[in-house]
């Protein structure tokens, strides 16, 4: 968490990769999930800020594949492979997927956090990428940073402070 470092920022419904040195970060994850992939040999890392579980509900013209779990995870794998990563070396960590608000009559959209988490996990297992660690659920927001040298995922939240995975 040193600010002078090279930092790649990933916005909501966005994904990006980083190699060599520095951090890749996304801020304010609520029901959204931050999925990170890491190739420890090449020190290559990628992060997707996933907003919705499945692209099957998409009604947009040009699909933003970074937004949906089922399209963002494969795309992130492809981006890392294009930089030389081997799919068999990739390991995943993820955080987010909380339920910021609780209601008496919990509608489907209120359960979006857990659904995002489930969908990301399903994609990872489909692609044969092990999920090493996760900090998901709860009712609070998270900002996450992955160090692409070490693969350590830093998670910051208002209530919990800083956590390392």
């Amino acid at each position: 968490m040193i600010d002078e470092q090279h930092i790649v920022k990933v916005g909501m419904a966005d994904l990006n990769v980083i190699r060599g040195q520095g951090l890749i970060r996304t801020t304010g994850l609520g029901s959204c999930v931050g999925v990170t992939l890491f190739d420890p040999l090449l020190k290559l890392a990628g992060l997707a800020h996933v907003m919705l579980p499945s692209s099957s509900i998409a009604r947009e013209g040009a699909l933003n594949i970074a937004k949906y779990a089922d399209t963002a995870v494969p795309e992130l794998v492809n981006k890392l492979k294009a930089l030389g990563a081997s799919q068999s070396r990739l390991v995943a960590k993820m955080a987010g997927g909380s339920q910021m608000f609780t209601f008496a009559g919990t509608g489907d959209s209120m359960r979006i956090g857990p659904r995002n988490v489930e969908s990301c996990k399903a994609m990872l297992s489909q692609l044969g990428i092990p999920l090493l660690a996760e900090d998901t659920g709860g009712n609070y927001g998270r900002t996450i940073e992955l160090d692409c040298e070490t693969g350590i995922l830093f998670i910051r939240s208002v209530q919990m402070g800083i956590k390392e995975l």
Binding site: M12, G28, A58, G141, R142
Partner: protein, 208 residues
């Protein structure tokens, strides 16, 4: 997002008026509660990229207190009443004479008082819109959270998320006294609700 591609200026003006009426009534309700005049800024209505929406309250990591309502009925949507934690403390003090604890935490009583204030304000916001448009709109029970703005506001963007990467935001700020208590209403109607709002107000929707 073809639906909003060529939203004419006057449609934006109609949405501004929607914000004006809703927040205006909420401001009146707050003014009665506080027995003080409340000013309101001109509503900002804009199609904003998701990232830019949290910027309106100080960025994705800014800690805000938000009361969230899902609006149900003819024109579903999401309504947030947003305060800084400091403003919330001041509001509680003014309103209930609650001797607020300093620091960032809120007691259970403070928490439920904020929720109730939010409920009153949202109730007047939504019921005045319902009257104005003759549409049925009912806010759900309030849900309260204090956390990163990005994490909170993303809940209001899910419906737009299925259609694109930006959302139509009706943003109204009210100010008490010398900016001592400042709060914001964010109304984000579901994409499907706009046609109904316009139809109810006699604004023709163009179809391409």
């Amino acid at each position: 997002m073809d639906l909003f591609k060529d939203f004419e200026e006057f449609k934006m003006d109609v949405l501004k008026e929607v914000g004006n009426i809703g927040a205006g009534n909420a401001a009146t309700a707050l003014s009665r509660l506080l027995d003080k005049p409340i000013d309101m800024a001109v509503p900002k209505v804009q199609m904003l990229p998701f990232e830019a929406i949290a910027e309106r309250v100080g960025g994705a990591e800014k800690i805000v207190l938000a009361v969230f309502f899902r609006v149900e009925g003819d024109t579903p949507g999401n309504l947030f009443f947003i305060l800084s934690p400091e403003a919330a403390k001041k509001l509680l003090h003014r309103l209930a004479g609650i001797e607020v604890e300093s620091g960032d935490s809120f007691s259970e009583m403070e928490w439920s008082a904020i929720s109730e204030i939010g409920n009153i304000l949202a109730g007047s916001y939504i019921s005045s819109l319902a009257d104005f448009t003759s549409l049925s709109m009912t806010p759900t029970v309030p849900a309260l959270a204090m956390d990163m703005a990005g994490a909170i506001l993303s809940y209001g963007l899910l419906q737009f998320g299925e259609m694109g990467d930006s959302a139509m935001l009706i943003d109204t700020t009210f100010i008490e006294g010398k900016h001592e208590v400042e709060g914001q209403f964010f109304l984000i109607p579901d994409p499907e609700s706009f046609a109904k709002i316009f139809a109810a107000l006699g604004v023709p929707m163009s179809h391409d």
